[in-house]
C-alpha cells in the first residue's frame, strides 16, 4: 500500500515497531498498571506468540490471520497456565516468579529442536506490514480500553487499590487477576507474532529479560494506569531507541537513568492515571480516582 517512494523502508520499520511496542506496552499496562500485578516476564508471552505463529506459517502454510490468532491464543493459554498458580504471590515474589517463568519458557524453547533450538527459526514469511500492525494496534487499544471501562475493568482496579478490601466486597480477585493476566498475554502474543513476521527470524535470546524490561519502562514512564501514557511512552522510547542504535550501551544507561529518575521524582509516570482526549475543555479523568498505589 505504502510504496517505497513515500516512506523509506527504514521509516516503515520504525513505524511498525512503534505499533508493536504500543500493543506490548498497553497489554502490559493492563496487568501491571490497572490490576497492580507486577509481572516482569512479558517477553515470555511474546515468545509464545512469536513461535506459535511462526510454526503455523512455516510448517502449515497458514494464512496470516490464522497464524496471528494461533499465536495469540497460545500466549493466552500460557497466561492462564502461568497465572493461576503464580497470581497468589504478591509484589516482589510475583515479580521474581514471572521473571523466572519467562526464563524457563526461553530455556525450554532453546532445547526443543522443532522450534529451532538455540539457532531460532528463520525464513518466516514477511506478512506484517503497516496495515496489519496498525490494525492490530487499534484492536488492542480498543479492546483493552473497553475492558477497563467496564465493570470488569473496575474490578481489576479495585484489586490494584486494595486486594483484601476487594475480596471482602465480594469480588473474586483471583478470577480478575487471571483474566487481566490472560488478556495481557494474549495481546503480547499478537505483538510477538507481528514481530516474528516482520523480522522473519526469531531466536530465544530475542525474548530475554531485557525485552521485558524495555516494555516495563514504557509502562512505567507513561504512567501505570494510563493507556494514553503507554502509547506515548511506547512512541517516545522506540524513537529514542532508534536514534541511539549506534550507541546501544548508552541507550540502556539512559533507560536505566530514566527509570530511576521517574521513580524518584514522578512515580506516577508522565500521565499518571489520566487519559487524554480531544475534548480539552472537559478534562476527562482516567478511570480511577485517588492516588495510585500498588502495594504488595
Amino acid at each position: 500500500m505504502y510504496s517505497a517512494e513515500i516512506i523509506s523502508p527504514f521509516v516503515m520499520l520504525n513505524l511498525i515497531i512503534i505499533a508493536i511496542n504500543i500493543i506490548l506496552a498497553v497489554s502490559l499496562n493492563l496487568v501491571v498498571g490497572f490490576t497492580g500485578q507486577f509481572s516482569i516476564g512479558h517477553a515470555g508471552f511474546m515468545a509464545l506468540g512469536a513461535y506459535a505463529s511462526a510454526i503455523m506459517s512455516l510448517n502449515f502454510n497458514a494464512p496470516f490471520i490464522v497464524s496471528l490468532l494461533v499465536g495469540a491464543i497460545v500466549a493466552g493459554i500460557g497466561g492462564i497456565i502461568i497465572g493461576i498458580p503464580t497470581l497468589r504471590l504478591r509484589g516482589d515474589y510475583l515479580a521474581i516468579a514471572t521473571l523466572g517463568l519467562a526464563e524457563i519458557i526461553r530455556g525450554v524453547i532453546t532445547n526443543i529442536d522443532y522450534l529451532g533450538g538455540a539457532y531460532g527459526l528463520m525464513g518466516i514469511p514477511q506478512r506484517t506490514n503497516w496495515l496489519w500492525a496498525f490494525g492490530c494496534m487499534l484492536v488492542t487499544v480498543l479492546v483493552i480500553k473497553n475492558f477497563i471501562q467496564s465493570s470488569h475493568g473496575r474490578a481489576c482496579i479495585s484489586v490494584r487499590e486494595n486486594e483484601i478490601a476487594a475480596e471482602a466486597m465480594g469480588i473474586n480477585t483471583t478470577k480478575y487477576k487471571v483474566i487481566a493476566f490472560t488478556m495481557g498475554s494474549f495481546f503480547a502474543g499478537i505483538g510477538g507474532a507481528l514481530l516474528a513476521h516482520y523480522i522473519t527470524f526469531i531466536e530465544p535470546n530475542a525474548f530475554n529479560f531485557l525485552k521485558s524490561f524495555d516494555i516495563l519502562v514504557m509502562v512505567v514512564l507513561g504512567g501505570q494506569g494510563s493507556l494514553t501514557g503507554s502509547v506515548v511512552a511506547a512512541i517516545v522510547l522506540t524513537l529514542i531507541s532508534t536514534f541511539l542504535q549506534s550507541l546501544a550501551e548508552l541507550r540502556l544507561i539512559i533507560y536505566a537513568i530514566i527509570l530511576i529518575l521517574v521513580m524518584l521524582f514522578r512515580p506516577q509516570g508522565l500521565l499518571g492515571t489520566h487519559e487524554l482526549s480531544f475534548k480539552l475543555l472537559q478534562r476527562k479523568r482516567g478511570v480511577s480516582h485517588g492516588s495510585h498505589s500498588a502495594d504488595a
Binding site: T86, A97, I104, N111, L216, I260, A294, D295
Partner: protein, 294 residues
C-alpha cells in the same frame, strides 16, 4: 561413586559462591524488605575492583580482597542513600523498579567505560590441585579457599548479628522499623551498615569468582545474582543460615543435573526450584509462614 563425590565437590564450590552472594540479598531483604536487584552488580564491581587492585595497584590476594570489600561497602552505602532511601515509604513496586534501574545502570555504565570483553585475573593465587580417595577425586586449592572463606564469613556474620549491639539493632529494625526508631535506634545508620556488610560479602564473592573462573565481565552479575537470589529464597529470605543452605543446595543440585542429566538444564534448574519454592513454601526452607494482616 567417585564421579558422584567429584560432582558433589563441584557443586559445593559453586554453591559457596551462591551462598556468599545470597547472604547479601537476604540481609537487605530482611531489613527493608527489598529485593536488591543491583546486588549482583555489586558483586561484579567487586570483581573489577579486585582486578584493579591486583593489576594496577599490584596488590597481592588478601589486600586486594580487602580493598575490594571496602570499595563495595562504600558503593553499597551510596546506592542505598541515593536510590533507595528516598523511596523508603513508597509502594513496593516503585522501589523494585528502581532497583532494576540501578542494576542496569551499573551494568551498562561499566560496559560503557570498560568494554564488554571479559578480562582475566593475573595469577595472584597459585593454583594447585589435590587428589583425594586415591587420585580419583580432585579438588583445587581455589575451591577450598572459596568454601573456607564462605564459612568463615558466615560465622562472622552470625556473630555480628547475634552477639553485637549493631546486630541487635539490625534485628530490631527488620522486625519493626517504627518501634526500633522509637527505641532510639538510628534506623538510617543501621540500614546503611547492613548494605555495607552485604555489599562487602558480594565483593568477596566477586574476587573469588574472578580468580576461580578467570573471567571478569560487566554482565557477570546477572546469572550469579539471580541464582544467589534463588538460593536466598530457597533457604528463607531474611534468614542468614538459610542463605547458606540454599546456596549449597542449589549448587549441588545444579552440579548433579549437569553431570547426570544434561548440562543444558543447568540454568533452568534454578528457576524451576524457585517456582516450586514460591508455590509450595514461599517462606523458604527455614522460614516461618506469616499470615498477611489486614
Amino acid at each position: 561413586m567417585n564421579e558422584f563425590i567429584q560432582q558433589l565437590i563441584n557443586g559445593i564450590s559453586v554453591g559457596s559462591i551462591y551462598a556468599l552472594i545470597a547472604l547479601g540479598y537476604t540481609m537487605v531483604y530482611g531489613i527493608i524488605k527489598l529485593i536488591n536487584f543491583a546486588h549482583g552488580d555489586v558483586y561484579m564491581l567487586g570483581a573489577f575492583a579486585g582486578l584493579y587492585a591486583t593489576l594496577v595497584l599490584k596488590m597481592s590476594f588478601v589486600p586486594a580482597l580487602i580493598f575490594s570489600m571496602i570499595v563495595c561497602a562504600i558503593l553499597g552505602i551510596i546506592i542505598e542513600r541515593l536510590a533507595y532511601r528516598p523511596l523508603r515509604n513508597s509502594p513496593k513496586i516503585v522501589i523494585l523498579i528502581t532497583a532494576i534501574g540501578v542494576s542496569l545502570f551499573l551494568e551498562y555504565t561499566t560496559m560503557f567505560f570498560l568494554g564488554p570483553q571479559p578480562r582475566a585475573f593475573p595469577e595472584v593465587f597459585k593454583h594447585a590441585s589435590y587428589t583425594l580417595l586415591g587420585g580419583k577425586v580432585t579438588i583445587s586449592n581455589q575451591e577450598i579457599l572459596i568454601i573456607a572463606v564462605t564459612v568463615i564469613l558466615m560465622i562472622l556474620l552470625q556473630y555480628i548479628v547475634h552477639n553485637t549491639k549493631i546486630g541487635k539493632a539490625m534485628r530490631a529494625v527488620s522486625y519493626d522499623m517504627q518501634a526500633a526508631r522509637l527505641m532510639g535506634i538510628n534506623v538510617d545508620t543501621t540500614i546503611s551498615i547492613t548494605f555495607a556488610l552485604g555489599s562487602a560479602l558480594a565483593a568477596a564473592a566477586g574476587v573469588l569468582v574472578g580468580i576461580y573462573y578467570n573471567k571478569v565481565f560487566p554482565l557477570m552479575g546477572i546469572m550469579f545474582g539471580l541464582k544467589a537470589f534463588v538460593s536466598a529464597v530457597l533457604g528463607g529470605i531474611g534468614i542468614i543460615p538459610g542463605a547458606m543452605a540454599g546456596g549449597f543446595i542449589l549448587g549441588i543440585t545444579e552440579s548433579l543435573v549437569s553431570g547426570y542429566g544434561s548440562s543444558l538444564y543447568r540454568d533452568p534448574v534454578a528457576f524451576v526450584i524457585l517456582i516450586i519454592i514460591l508455590l509450595v513454601k514461599p517462606s523458604g526452607l527455614f522460614g516461618k509462614n506469616v499470615r498477611e494482616k489486614v
